[in-house]
């Protein structure tokens, strides 16, 4: 069994930046900068925060002399998801999962990512010989089924929460997906 895909959120090492902005305070001022709440002293840290945001990083660690600062940007906060796979009886072949989770990763401004609300196996079509629910470039409507995530013999149909267009399919059919894993990149701007 291959290693399940991990969400492409950068891990500790991946998000680290070694470049030192010239505005970084030297060791002598470290306490002042970290503890003093006056806007003037905190300016360099504010710049680091801007740097973090500008480069779409989740984590930034900078070290200079004895001074080290570590910033983290949580993109977490997702809406609660109603996974209807709560029961384990492998009876109903298809269950609708009310909402696919939507988050806004920074690298795709204006677009939304539809992530998996449950752990399971991703399928692009209702059966092996059927056509996929959607292809890249297809228009899509709110409430439309985009894929299936099979969990414990239960086929959970994942519906879109927005109108728009499928920009990219991010998961591979028949492969396992974890909670929060991006499945589709969607352009929510209404297309004519």
């Amino acid at each position: 069994m291959s290693k399940p895909r991990v969400r492409p959120r950068p891990r500790k090492e991946g998000g680290r930046l070694t470049a030192l902005p010239s505005t970084l305070p030297g060791p002598s001022s470290e306490r002042t900068v970290l503890n003093d709440a006056s806007g003037e002293q905190l300016a360099p840290i504010q710049e680091l925060i801007d740097l973090l945001k500008r480069n779409n990083l989740t984590e930034l660690e900078v070290e200079r002399g004895g001074f080290r600062v570590r910033l983290r940007h949580e993109t977490g906060a997702r809406p609660a998801v109603a996974a209807s796979a709560a029961d384990v009886i492998p009876a109903a072949p298809h269950t609708r999962v009310e909402s696919a989770t939507i988050s806004l990763p920074a690298e795709t401004a204006g677009k939304v990512t539809i992530t998996s609300p449950i752990v399971g196996t991703f399928y692009r079509s209702p059966s092996p010989d059927a056509d996929p629910y959607v292809e890249e470039g297809d228009p899509m409507k709110k409430g439309q089924v985009l894929c299936i995530v099979e969990a414990m013999k239960l086929m959970n149909e994942i519906e879109s929460e927005v109108d728009g267009r499928v920009v990219k399919i991010l998961a591979e059919s028949t492969k396992p997906v974890e909670y929060g894993q991006p499945l589709f990149l969607v352009d929510p701007t209404p297309t004519s």
Binding site: P4, R78, A83, A85, V88, G180
Partner: protein, 449 residues
């Protein structure tokens, strides 16, 4: 033997199970919430699956997601650790029904032990000493009053579905019974979803003694000695030791015999702990069976040389116990300190960024922890961040080693219970082994005076 095990937990116990698997040549799958993406247990495992948002009800206790994680990774067995799904009979049952081995007791074992009033009844029927109390759950206030009169005051009201010290009320006189009964019932209902309460004699200054047992599929049972967990704060254990300084050889044999008898009475499987109260006159009474691996299991490992997690895995795989009662040798003495991310005086949780973490080391020192420098203590879960365990040839050496190790331990950035542990280990009464469950409260009261 299993080829791949999913560890349905986080923190030190997840890492503990992963390490045992690594030594047994078993592949591991870690699960984690979005709050634990960077945690050590996730990196230590061969595979990892995110099972939900930070709230444990939606991630670590999310049965469909945890089982799906086992399914997509092809794990054959699940180790639940302690807490979360470890004593969830429904979860164990679902595992059994879909062919994933639950590493722990049977779902029937968990269901029976989870109903404390019933478990007590079963053990009493076997003729074993239980705390004097109501025969089963109390139906109403007059039931409670009658039972309390028969047992004699003070009494303690406990939730049948309770545990971890929650849902308990001490009643000193008759006119307090009605109100305490209502409050205990309401608390039991809101905390555990079941309003059943029962009543037991309340002992002042007892010791909490528990016995570690193992039982294989063939019904062979082995007792691995006792642990003294009398250092508690509001029923939360803080320091444990084995052997107990209050238990002599004759008493040890007797408690061990009763523990094994209780385990056989309920057809128990895998690792479990039988809890007793020991009064000042060396009388002991059965309280309950903990149907899981316990936080304080390492001290038993230190004095017996038996890896309890590996034994759990072997038993779950259907292997017979490789040793008999006469093979068990208790060697030396062991202590455990539970280091919590808490304010040491008020015990309020203290999550945050650990700026510097340097565990102690050296001969006879063991640290079970998933903590690292620059790691976050997240506010969503248990505040236990490290278990410091020492082993020595005797109690004095294990104690001196603990004092030394506590001084070496550096955790910066958050408040921990380390200073309190240093205080406990330098207390004269504690050093003499003269403690009861009210020791800590007294120590803290003296401090504020």
């Amino acid at each position: 033997m299993f080829k791949k095990i999913l560890v349905a937990n986080r923190g030190e116990i997840a890492l503990r199970v992963i390490r045992a698997c690594q030594e047994l040549g078993i592949k591991t799958v870690a699960i984690h919430s979005e709050a634990d993406t960077h945690s050590w247990h996730v990196r230590a495992a061969d595979e990892h699956v995110c099972v939900g948002p930070p709230e444990d009800a939606l991630s670590y206790r999310n049965i469909p997601n945890v089982l799906s994680a086992a399914e997509i990774t092809g794990a054959e067995a699940i180790h639940p650790g302690y807490g979360f799904l470890s004593e969830n009979a429904h979860f164990a049952e679902v595992c059994e029904s879909i062919g994933v081995k639950f590493i722990g007791p049977t779902s029937e074992n968990i269901a029976l032990m989870g109903d404390k009033a019933k478990a007590r009844e079963v053990v009493a029927r076997r003729g074993l000493p239980v705390l004097p109390g109501s025969p089963g759950e109390l139906r109403n206030e007059s039931d409670a009053l009658e039972a309390a009169r028969k047992v004699g005051f003070p009494v303690i009201l406990k939730a049948s579905a309770g545990g971890g010290g929650r849902g308990m009320r001490v009643v000193n006189k008759e006119d307090e019974v009605a109100r305490a009964f209502q409050a205990a019932q309401a608390e039991a209902k809101s905390t555990f979803g079941h309003e059943g309460v029962y009543l037991e004699r309340y002992f002042l200054e007892p010791r909490h003694i528990e016995v570690q047992v193992l039982a294989d599929d063939r019904g062979r049972v082995v007792c691995l000695g006792e642990r003294d967990c009398s250092i508690q704060r509001r029923y939360q254990k803080l320091v444990e030791e084995t052997p107990s300084p209050a238990v002599n050889e004759a008493l040890r044999r007797e408690i061990g015999r009763v523990a094994l008898d209780a385990i056989k009475a309920v057809h128990y499987r895998n690792a479990g702990t039988v809890e007793f109260l020991l009064d000042k006159d060396q009388n002991f009474y059965f309280m309950e069976v903990n149907a899981r691996i316990q936080v304080e299991h390492p001290i038993t490992e230190m004095v017996t040389g038996i890896d309890l997690i590996k034994e759990q895995i072997r038993i779950a795989a259907g292997l017979p116990l490789a040793f008999r009662q006469q093979d068990i040798r208790i060697t030396g003495h062991s202590f455990e300190c539970r280091i919590n991310a808490e304010c040491p005086e008020k015990f309020t949780p203290c999550p945050g960024l650990v700026t510097h973490y340097r565990p102690p080391g050296g001969f006879g020192v063991r640290v079970d922890s998933a903590m690292e420098s620059h790691s976050q203590v997240v506010p969503h879960y248990d505040s236990l961040i490290a278990k410091l365990i020492t082993h020595g040839q005797n109690r004095e050496e294990a104690m001196a080693r603990m004092r030394r190790a506590l001084d070496e331990f550096v955790i910066e950035g958050i408040k921990t219970t380390l200073p309190l542990h240093r205080r406990i280990f330098s207390d004269a009464e504690f050093q003499k082994g003269r403690v009861s469950t009210s020791f800590l409260e007294r120590l803290l009261t003296n401090q504020s005076n």
